[in-house]
């Protein structure tokens, strides 16, 4: 796609993404391709960012602002991804922003007509951050297809606020803004249902996380980093090192990783 690692890496992240701190809250908009992220983005910001249906449309991010209840929000439209694995440039941009951009709220836009596919990303995002709002988009399409969704039950299962919307008709957007504001200001505290792995993985992740905790200095979720290290995600280790501005090859961590992988 003609994108170099330099053009999409952490340096641009710092230039383009990282909030000045003075201009209100930062809201990340994540979601699978075709969930309607850009439509939600335009509906919230009143901008006319190009929407269209082809892969990689939003390769980098678009930003827009809106104000609600006297607060100012900067909305960042991330590329559509199926996961936060960073196996492509798009995924890496999305993951780096959610992990290192430290948005005040991450809105995951999901397609109400295809939850089985879209909820995977929601779960992955909740492993990184608890400040997540699920935007259940394309509700108009779901109604047309006679799909009925038990929204309170879904919210209960996920432990997250779920807001049904039909962004292209403007439906549910006022409520979405209310919920985003509530999570950003801390009046609403989502408690995502923890994802529990096999006993062996849990034990290894726990031990690694304890080693990582002092190195990360509370700036990243240690359990999440531990799980990614166990998966052997090399791009993430690079990203973390750049983010923290220091090497992560602490002998303690290396030893633990060796031990738990053995």
């Amino acid at each position: 796609m003609g994108l170099t690692r330099q053009a999409t890496g952490f340096s641009t992240l710092q230039e383009n993404f990282l909030p000045d701190g003075s201009n209100g809250y930062v809201v990340a908009l994540a979601g699978n391709p075709n969930a309607g992220k850009s439509t939600v983005f335009n509906a919230l910001t009143g901008l006319k960012q190009h929407t269209g249906n082809w892969p990689g449309k939003t390769v980098l991010q678009a930003r827009g602002k809106f104000t609600h209840q006297g607060h100012s929000f900067t909305l960042v439209d991330l590329p559509g991804t199926y996961s936060l694995l960073a196996s492509s440039v798009e995924e890496q941009v999305a993951r780096d922003f959610i992990c290192f951009g430290r948005p005040d709220v991450t809105v995951v836009v999901v397609d109400a007509t295809c939850l089985e596919r879209h909820l995977n990303l929601v779960l992955q995002v909740t492993e990184v951050t608890s400040k997540v709002v699920v935007c259940l988009n394309l509700m108009d399409e779901a109604r047309r297809k006679k799909i009925v969704i038990d929204v309170p039950a879904l919210a209960g299962e996920l432990g997250l606020p779920v807001v049904p919307t039909a962004a292209r008709k403007g439906e549910g957007l006022a409520r979405l803004k209310d919920v985003i504001a509530a999570v950003a200001t801390g009046t609403l505290h989502p408690v995502p249902t923890p994802i529990v792995y096999d006993a062996a993985i849990e034990a290894a992740a726990g031990r690694l996380a304890r080693q990582l905790q002092p190195l990360l200095r509370g700036r990243l979720n240690a359990r999440w980093v531990a799980l990614r290290l166990l998966e052997g995600d090399a791009t993430l280790i690079e990203g973390i090192q750049e983010f923290l501005g220091r090497e992560l090859d602490d002998p303690g961590v290396k030893l633990q990783l060796k031990e738990v992988l053995a």
Binding site: S83, L85, E116, E231, D233
Partner: protein, 104 residues
């Protein structure tokens, strides 16, 4: 055909828990996703990929029990578009051959 001879497929592999129940696997019919003809359907039996490739395939929705339809091949024969859990996704042969399916 990439169907391995006498290898037993470990059902308890990661992903089996998604399907909720253990499945009976008929050995003879198992083939690899890359051998599925456009227009035909297969049900995922197991993934032979390991590490990040495995995780990526699972993130795309390829877990045991998932039904996949082969849509069409690109003119050069690779990649092939598959319909997986509500989305059309193109996979290269090197990825799709690591997914074992039973034609249905």
């Amino acid at each position: 055909m990439c169907a391995p001879g006498n290898r037993e497929f470990p059902i308890e592999e990661i992903g089996a828990e998604y399907s909720g129940k253990k499945r009976k696997i008929t050995m003879g019919a198992v083939t690899s996703l890359s051998d599925l003809k456009p227009g035909s359907t297969g049900e995922v039996v197991s993934l032979q990929a390991r590490g990040l490739t495995r995780r990526r395939l699972m993130d795309l929705g390829l877990v045991p029990g998932t039904r996949v339809v082969a849509l069409r091949r690109s003119p050069s024969g690779d990649p092939t578009a598959f319909f997986i859990r509500g989305a059309a996704i193109a996979l290269r042969r090197e990825e799709s051959r690591q997914v074992l399916v039973r034609p249905v």
